[in-house]
């Protein structure tokens, strides 16, 4: 299994990482008082950890190789499928769905307002993830400025309420619409660009929106933000804070179901299949007679619509918004949700959002390491499982 050569290599790797992290992890200086803290124990930790991780990695790899070799020789059947067979059984699926729906419905009765708030946030990220999934997962256009549309939605609600006194329900479609308009605005200049340029331009676009919101005081009240945004109303009924939050929770559930429905229908529609084709091969896609410009623009616009609506929900939930909520980090988190869950897969994105938002909330110990882990997740998923936790299964059409 693990040979002496592997161990020698692991020692080398351990030493390399000890060297690599030496100045940053071991030495902590205070340039003003000219004092130095030496933290030698971290060096040992890094060495041992990288040694262990490498050996583990080798072990997994060799075992996989051995098994594949056996399968190839016909000594062993492929076992993974039979193990997970019950997942595909309709009874299991129905009971799972039933339990899920029941849990979702009674959730507010069982848990405190604090928990409900966390859940609303997670659901918001589900919507954002599904929206970005259209752009990144389905159409294969890497958008790193997705948070800009989220900001557009939130500020639409805040500003329209501030100046014209418009309510949540009027603004919700408007937010989605404005999101779509901004999506098209961004889409036009980047249509001709290849994937990697697109990433940077969208990143720049996101930053421009944030900078404008931060600096244009007359328009957006600058960094101090906009406060006193009302929560969604229910035919003018007066609600206590707790009821309002529970109400928002159910609205959010409705929103998620609506999103899942629409996104699912979109993916299997003519335009959805055009997106998949665009992702797989642009040139072949054009050769099949698909209008590239229109397909890309609809992907941008429809992706941004969800961000715009989620933004309206965000403003209604927090009742206070400022530009600091719309940094690149947010875009990165949403991208991470899509990548971890599985690009193009609706179930995957939902799982990804719930895992990435709820786990750090409940494991507060790791809260500091959240972004570190997100970064590592992106790299590791690309290396080991590029299709994500729940791989997207393309719909197949039976031949007559």
């Amino acid at each position: 299994m693990i040979t002496l050569k592997d161990i020698r290599k692991a020692i080398g790797i351990g030493l390399w990482f000890m060297f690599l992290t030496f100045p940053l992890l071991v030495i902590k200086v205070n340039p003003v008082e000219k004092t130095v803290i030496w933290r030698w124990h971290t060096m040992l930790l890094v060495g041992v950890a990288s040694f262990g991780v490498y050996l583990l990695y080798r072990l997994v790899l060799t075992r996989r190789d051995v098994r594949q070799e056996r399968i190839r020789l016909g000594q062993e059947q492929e076992t993974t499928k039979s193990n997970l067979h019950f997942l595909k059984a309709p009874q299991f699926r129905q009971s799972l769905a039933g339990t899920g729906i029941l849990f979702v419905l009674v959730f507010p009765a069982l848990f405190s307002t604090y928990q409900i708030n966390i859940m609303i946030t997670a659901l918001m990220y589900v919507v954002l993830g599904l929206g970005l999934n259209i752009v990144v997962g389905v159409a294969g256009l890497l958008n790193l400025g997705y948070v800009a549309f989220y900001a557009v939605g939130a500020y639409t609600y805040a500003l329209l309420h501030l100046h014209f006194g418009l309510g949540f329900w009027t603004v919700l479609p408007l937010g989605g619409l404005l999101g779509a308009v901004f999506g098209i605005l961004l889409g036009f200049p980047v249509l001709r660009l290849r994937g990697d340029y697109l990433a940077i331009v969208t990143l720049g676009f996101g930053e421009i929106i944030r900078l404008v919101l931060e600096n244009w005081n007359e328009f957006s009240k600058g960094p101090s933000g906009i406060a006193d945004i009302p929560r969604p109303g229910f035919f003018g009924l007066d609600m206590s804070l707790e009821t309002a939050i529970i109400y928002l929770y159910y609205l959010m559930i409705g929103m998620v179901i609506f999103t899942i429905f629409v996104v699912n229908r979109l993916q299997n529609s003519r335009i959805g299949r055009a997106w998949f084709a665009l992702r797989e091969d642009e040139i072949a896609c054009q050769a099949m007679g698909i209008d590239k410009t229109r397909t890309k623009l609809t992907a941008f616009a429809l992706g941004a619509t969800w961000a715009g609506m989620a933004g309206v929900f965000f403003a209604a939930k927090t009742t206070f918004i400022n530009p600091a909520s719309f940094t690149f980090i947010e875009s990165a988190i949403i991208l991470c949700i899509v990548v971890l869950g599985g690009m193009g897969s609706i179930v995957g994105v939902i799982v990804g959002a719930l895992v990435l938002i709820l786990v750090p909330e409940y494991l507060r110990v790791f809260a500091d390491y959240r972004m570190l882990v997100f970064g590592a997740v992106l790299v590791v998923m690309m290396l080991l499982r590029p299709q994500g936790i729940v791989a997207n299964v393309r719909r197949t059409y039976l031949q007559p």
Binding site: P23, L24, G195, G375
Partner: protein, 338 residues
């Protein structure tokens, strides 16, 4: 004299590369303009732009070299620059506690920063990019973004998220005193060092064996393999050189601005990338030209128009180039063959 020196610092130092912007209030700016009717202010901005440009160039070279060879935007490049600057801070502080002479500190610090940044660049390539070389285009890009987030937060956790003062490593040159109003001795040092590094790099790529191999690899990787070039090694060398250049840039800029924190790599990286695209990504002279164009644009835009939207100028410029000339100033339009 004191007042004028102060003005130079405000314009050229504080607004550099996404550091905390002190900024000038509008009425201050008017006073400023009144004090410098035309020519002096213009020259001051010109040098400020050139200094910026040469720093961008040191960073943009890394982007453009990597892109030229493996066609990947190395998102983690900005973080490598930040790590270079941090290593410089740590090493120089430790050395100054032991009371070494300033010049020794400067040299040792520069070498250490370049060494560790190069090591990080090398490791990032081995871990996150090499296994994905034949994967779909999106995969290495996402992996690079992940690396960038990871490294930034690694430094945040290992050090601190606060701004830390950076010692002034570049010595004040006595003979520069009469010109202090238009160009500080630090600006001059940055210009000279950057120019030297770029000449060395050009020489290396044009005339050495490794340089020849690098050019061959960037033209056609498969063909380079066929003629016996170890492509993996060449790619590693590219990352080593690019990262070392970024670290030198980080050291220069940090000692010019006087403070660093773990998030400086993000904005600096984007701007350097903008510069690389402006010049035509993949082209080395293009990266240098693009950097100077960007640096001067920023200096004049912030100096004459407004300093609030300093970062937005770069992005706006980037979007404009990509619409009207996606291949950049010196780049050739790529033709996709089916």
């Amino acid at each position: 004299m004191v007042v004028t020196t102060h003005a130079v610092t405000v314009i050229s130092a504080s607004q550099f590369l996404g550091y905390a912007t002190l900024g000038l209030e509008p009425d201050q700016l008017l006073q400023h303009l009144a004090r410098y009717p035309s020519m002096d202010y213009f020259i001051e901005l010109l040098f400020s732009g050139l200094t910026r440009g040469s720093i961008y160039a040191l960073l943009a070279l890394g982007y453009t070299m990597v892109y030229g060879i493996i066609g990947l935007i190395n998102f983690a490049h900005g973080e490598i620059y930040m790590i270079g600057a941090y290593t410089a801070l740590i090493v120089s502080t430790v050395l100054s506690i032991y009371g070494l002479p300033p010049l020794t500190i400067l040299v040792v610090t520069a070498l250490a920063a370049a060494l560790w940044a190069a090591a990080y660049g090398f490791t990032v390539e081995r871990l996150a990019y090499r296994p994905l070389r034949n994967a779909p285009r999106l995969s290495p890009l996402i992996s690079a973004i992940g690396m960038s987030i990871f490294l930034q937060n690694f430094v945040l956790l290992a050090q601190t998220s606060d701004f830390q003062p950076f010692p002034s490593l570049i010595p004040e040159l006595a003979f520069m005193e009469p010109f202090a109003a238009v160009i500080g001795s630090k600006d001059l040092t940055i210009l000279i060092v950057a120019a030297l590094v770029m000449i060395l790099l050009t020489f290396m790529i044009k005339f050495t064996r490794t340089g020849k191999a690098m050019r061959a690899t960037s033209q056609d990787r498969k063909m380079a393999l066929l003629v016996g070039i170890n492509v993996d090694n060449i790619i590693s060398i590219t990352f080593l050189i690019g990262s070392a250049l970024a670290a030198i840039g980080g050291l220069l800029i940090a000692s010019h601005v006087g403070q660093i924190n773990c998030s400086i790599g993000f904005i600096a990286g984007i701007k350097a990338f903008t510069a690389a695209v402006l010049g035509g990504i993949g082209s080395i002279p293009g990266a240098v030209l693009g950097s100077f164009v960007l640096g001067l644009t920023e200096a004049f835009a912030t100096g004459y128009v407004s300093s609030d939207y300093e970062d937005a100028f770069a992005f706006a410029l980037l979007v404009l180039i990509l619409i009207f000339r996606p291949a950049g100033l010196l780049g050739k339009a790529a033709i996709d063959k089916v």
